[in-house]
Symmetry: C2
Subunit: 244 residues, 2 copies
């Protein structure tokens, strides 16, 4: 079951929540701060704080104010559209060096998604104020901000395209293909699912049952082999064929 504890209840009370070195290191690695001068990063970092949470923790809730932009140091979060019936539609995962919430934070609007930890996770929270200041002071950061927001839009359009455009079989095939691309080459390759099959199913907008059936079908057709979360892609061309 989901832990509904407040973020603060999830965090260690140790004194390193503002350790400058640590916060700066995390912030520096976010694409949002690429090529931003160290002094400006340090300034922002001095207003940011670190949070830890354990698997299952609810970090932000749809409709409530997000305390600031979230940047992941390690662990894994999921961004979720909660449905009335308690069901969860997973929009995306958020891993190390990825950030979330630029849009709602800058607009000071209620968060449009639930944010839930899928594993023990450490992240920084960067409040609006220093972001605004930096936006007006540092052209590089301002450009990064525009780039990040623009990329977010493109990503969301692709997301809609994938969700409404194609059948679950195609979505799954396309996802497996995208995993294979990381490995390079075009031959058979072994990949590891980054999350459980159930979580992945939710991410792809299907149920775990459907997921199971689709995977079995791919296996029966000799396109993939399976051993737990480890999947070997045997026939990449045919898989790509299904994806289209």
């Amino acid at each position: 079951m989901l832990q509904l504890n407040d973020v603060n209840g999830q965090c260690g009370t140790n004194g390193n929540r503002r350790d400058p070195r640590l916060v700066e290191g995390i912030v520096t690695n976010l694409p949002l701060f690429r090529d931003v001068g160290h002094s400006n990063v340090a300034l922002v970092a001095s207003h940011a704080r670190i949070e830890h949470c354990r698997r299952g923790a609810l970090i932000a809730r749809q409709g409530e104010r997000l305390p600031g932009v979230i940047g992941v140091a390690y662990g894994l979060l999921k961004l979720v559209l909660p449905r009335r019936n308690g069901e969860e539609k997973v929009l995306r995962f958020l891993g190390p060096n990825e950030s979330f919430g630029e849009a709602v934070t800058l607009l000071e609007r209620p968060c449009s998604l639930d944010v839930v930890a899928l594993a023990e996770t450490m992240f920084v929270v960067i409040p609006v104020r220093p972001l605004r200041q930096l936006q007006e002071r540092d052209i590089t950061f301002a450009n990064n901000l525009v780039r990040t927001l623009a990329e977010g839009q493109v990503r969301l359009v692709r997301e809609i395209d994938a969700r409404i455009g194609s059948s679950s079989a195609k979505r799954l095939a396309a996802y497996l293909e995208s995993l294979a691309k990381f490995e390079g080459g075009s031959g058979a390759c072994a990949v590891q699912l980054p999350v459980t099959k159930s979580a992945l199913a939710a991410r792809l907008g299907i149920t775990k049952e459907t997921m199971s059936r689709l995977l079995r079908e791919l296996k029966d057709q000799g396109l993939i082999a399976m051993a737990g979360g480890a999947i070997t892609i045997l026939d990449r061309p045919r898989l790509a064929g299904i994806a289209n």
Copy 2:
């Protein structure tokens, strides 16, 4: 059938495509340029051009470069995710004083959508270059840009929420509700569909057949009355009930 003519083939060859007054007037009304000083607007406008197109014209194509940000003066465009089978998934409509393409234009990435005219439409095209310049020179514009992109993200998340979250009946009910809100009050009210029922169906992600059936059901239940594109909402509370 869709007209596949190039934009240039759609445009009058008359000399007012760069009429400064006209272009400035259109650009000024875009939220993107709100509170931006006249001289800066004029500068951008001097690099923009006006296009006319008739109903059915294809203004931009998925995968091709967008010549710049599109701002509508009058008429109506639709933003479409084209499917392989020729089917069209309509993401949104774009009416007067709305703009499109900030994200892909600034990233200089291929356009993620088809843009098609639903009526005779006039719009401006603002190339990247002057936008970039203004972004670095004018803080108000830079802020507008960030706001526009951020709002676009929030809008897209809501869009995904609506599409994957609820049944077609709920989506339709929610849409009718949103039309009613413009009219104010909470009692019965008459609204006019802004587009044909078929186009609206595509916008809501359903077929015209399903749309027809859903509307009839609402009528049979006494929630609405219908006369062509004119719809009277009779029982707003119950309609809102369906939407949730």
